[in-house]
């Protein structure tokens, strides 16, 4: 009686829900048609390679948003773990340094998570403090110098990671895709994954249903730390160097992608795969801008405009929605009848 399906409305909902795929297609087609030297294997491989780091980092960050928190420290975790991964190689080899770096990322996430879940401090503050502290740590440990490796075996690893196995596919891209696929399926198709959504959607409900909300919050921060670590270490290994600001732009990049992809800051909504497509879309866009011969400044400007438009659009939609909540369909019908008469 009350809930007759409204086909026009549900079509709009469907479009909105899948907007990132539509956006991606539009951007991709535009670049393929108009951008010079865009649509070729080499360039598309470049796009896949450049997107790999942020795509990995975005996995954990999306989970953080889904659970209704924020992690501002991912940028510095990327740099921190990259420096550990390369810096310790001299002493314990990649076999030791990579796990140590990734575990370090996880430990940072654990600290963030404990402070948020157990000490009950706002995640904005916790991760802001963590960001400041890590920035200091990075500079203290390195003395302000980038870390780079120039041994043959390091170059060998670097070359292997960038090896084009198939068109568009290098080992590092494969690792990224496997991670994304695994975590996307985990979040979508398993009970534990859905519980993250429930904790973000309504903490109280989740707790009453016997879901340990603190544990899930901590787990989300650990995931964020670990994926930031993996992203950072792999990127550094492929370029055989870790600069002290390599993670700086990632925070903005990943937040933009998650939001454009439809993950809500308020929690309980969104998905890893959508964030990934959004990352790809941004990279296609940036790549195209450069191919058009436009500079970095255009890229920054357009990135800002896109994010601002999406945020404003979402705010405007819910602003409009608020005005019609509770509207009685039969009264609207009555109005139509009156107007026709």
């Amino acid at each position: 009686m009350l809930n007759k399906p409204n086909s026009k409305k549900s079509l709009l909902v469907a479009i909105d829900r899948n907007r990132i795929f539509i956006l991606f297609t539009i951007v991709f087609l535009f670049m393929a048609l108009f951008a010079p030297r865009f649509f070729n294997v080499f360039n598309l491989t470049t796009i896949m390679r450049t997107s790999a780091m942020n795509a990995t980092v975005a996995i954990g960050f999306t989970v953080i948003l889904i659970i209704g928190q924020l992690d501002l420290s991912i940028g510095t975790i990327i740099t921190f773990t990259a420096i550990i991964g390369l810096g310790l190689k001299e002493y314990i080899g990649f076999g030791g340094s990579i796990p140590v770096a990734i575990i370090a990322g996880g430990l940072i996430g654990l600290i963030n998570g404990l402070l948020v879940a157990k000490a009950k401090i706002n995640s904005f503050i916790v991760t802001l403090g963590m960001m400041t502290a890590l920035q200091g740590a990075i500079y203290t440990f390195t003395g302000g110098n980038s870390v780079s490796l120039s041994t043959p075996d390091a170059f060998a690893v670097s070359d292997w990671l960038a090896l084009m196995i198939f068109p568009l596919v290098t080992p590092r891209v494969i690792i990224t895709l496997v991670l994304i696929a695994a975590s996307a399926i985990f979040m979508k198709r398993t009970r534990i994954g859905r519980n993250f959504y429930m904790v973000g959607g309504n903490r109280q409900t989740a707790w009453l249903a016997g879901i340990d909300t603190d544990k899930y919050t901590i787990a989300a921060f650990i995931m964020s730390g670990v994926t930031a670590g993996i992203g950072g270490v792999l990127f550094a290994m492929e370029s055989a160097a870790a600069t002290l600001n390599m993670g700086n732009s990632s925070l903005m990049y990943v937040i933009s992608a998650a939001i454009i992809g439809g993950t809500a800051m308020s929690g309980g909504k969104g998905g890893i795969f959508k964030t990934f497509v959004a990352i790809l879309m941004l990279d296609v866009l940036y790549n195209g801008i450069i191919l058009f011969g436009l500079g970095n400044e255009v890229k920054i400007f357009i990135a800002g405009i896109i994010l601002a438009s999406v945020v404003l659009y979402e705010a405007y939609v819910s602003y409009k929605h608020e005005k019609v909540i509770g509207q009685r369909p039969e009264l609207m019908k009555e109005l139509e009848v009156q107007n026709q008469a």
């Binding site: 924020l70 402070l115 000490a119 009950k120 401090i121 706002n122 904005f124 503050i125 916790v126 802001l128 403090g129 963590m130 960001m131 400041t132 502290a133 890590l134 920035q135 200091g136 740590a137 990075i138 500079y139 203290t140 302000g144 903005m252 937040i255 933009s256 939001i259 800051m265 308020s266 500079g295 970095n296 400044e297 255009v298 920054i300 400007f301 357009i302 990135a303 800002g304 405009i305 994010l307 601002a308 945020v311 404003l312 979402e314 705010a315 405007y316 819910s318 602003y319």
Partner: protein, 352 residues
């Protein structure tokens, strides 16, 4: 005064039915309000002890105290303005860094028409950003952090598009030597050769904004809006305007900060103001203002700014490197906030 008499009588009428508020007496209130200055005093004492032990020198001198205030004055200017955003329950204004950069660079550019047009143009630019934030967040309820981050990026893009990787220098552009000198003195002028102008700006702003927050209709309505937006709207507060105004105040103090920073560096560039967003949040939160909104004060924020200054100064005197200072500052930040959150909870208040 009649009101307070009645109030006291009433408190006697309800003897000890609940531990929470009966122990919350005037003394406790003073301590709670001064809490952040107690921490500042601790740092001061720590500095004095370190000096007495001979670990550091020249801590407790008038000159050093002035240096401390001088060093944090620009942060203070930005933080007391951004505090309004925090107080309104909207966390922080992340567009502050590029607001500072943009207003600075516009001022330098407009110096070719003279000093006052330059200032007017800068203020207009700051006001514009403030108004954009006001509409998006106040009216359409956009998420404040993400929205201001986006605005920060757009503004950065605008600066870099218009002044394509160019740095512009006031002394080369200014219409007259006078205009260039005056602009230079926005930061450099010193009263009695000692007290810098930024310190004066900060003190004036603290007095003015503290008055606005505690003693005006806007301030009181902002408090209720920060604590409960919906209830405030249903109490006849024009919440859209109140929230919008807090973002405008923030943008205007950021403009002053931008002019000062640009005057200091003698160059208009996109990176002027970088880092001021997070630094200001740190000061605000250490100063006892909680992100939940409606709680804290400008005086407290000033305390937070001074603590950061003391902390930096002591660490520098100790010979701690700039980068290690960052690390320690981050840790102290979390610890202070954690303690604050815990004390609020034991007071029977909600989380920070």
């Amino acid at each position: 005064m009649e009101g307070t008499e009645v109030l006291e009588k009433k408190q006697q009428n309800s003897p000890g039915d609940d531990i929470r508020t009966t122990n919350y007496n005037i003394l406790g209130k003073i301590f709670h309000g001064a809490g952040i200055y107690a921490v500042a005093a601790l740092f001061l004492v720590a500095g004095i002890i370190l000096q007495a032990l001979g670990v550091i020198n020249n801590f407790l001198t008038a000159q050093n105290m002035l240096n401390i205030v001088d060093a944090v004055s620009m942060l203070g200017i930005v933080a007391v303005g951004m505090a309004f955003v925090t107080y309104s329950g909207h966390y922080a204004d992340m567009s502050v860094p590029t607001t500072m950069a943009l207003t600075g660079i516009i001022a330098v550019q407009m110096l070719q028409y003279g000093f006052f047009p330059a200032i007017a143009a800068a203020v207009a630019a700051g006001l514009l950003i403030g108004l954009i934030n006001a509409v998006a967040i106040g009216k359409f309820k956009a998420n404040p952090i993400i929205w201001t981050l986006a605005v920060n990026y757009v503004t950065l893009g605008v600066i870099r598009l218009v002044w394509v990787n160019k740095q512009i220098y006031p002394d080369m552009i200014a219409k007259s030597q006078w205009a260039s000198d005056v602009f230079d003195n926005i930061y450099r002028f010193r009263f009695f050769n000692k007290i810098g102008l930024p310190v004066v700006y900060m003190i004036i702003l603290v007095i003015l904004l503290n008055f606005i927050m505690k003693k005006t209709k806007f301030g009181q309505q902002l408090k209720i809006t920060g604590a409960a937006r919906k209830a405030s709207e249903f109490s006849g507060v024009n919440v859209e305007r109140v929230i919008g105004l807090s973002f405008v105040i923030c943008a205007l103090t950021a403009t002053l900060g931008g002019l000062t920073v640009t005057s200091l560096s003698r160059v208009g560039a996109y990176y002027n103001g970088a880092g001021y967003d997070f630094k200001a949040v740190t000061a605000i939160v250490i100063g006892g203002m909680t992100l939940a909104g409606g709680r804290g004060s400008i005086i407290g924020v000033l305390g937070g700014v001074l603590i950061i200054g003391l902390m930096n100064n002591i660490m520098t005197l100790l010979g701690v490197g700039t980068f290690s200072q960052d690390m320690i500052r981050g840790i102290i930040f979390i610890v202070v906030v954690g303690i604050n959150a815990k004390s609020l909870r034991t007071l029977g208040r909600d989380d920070a």
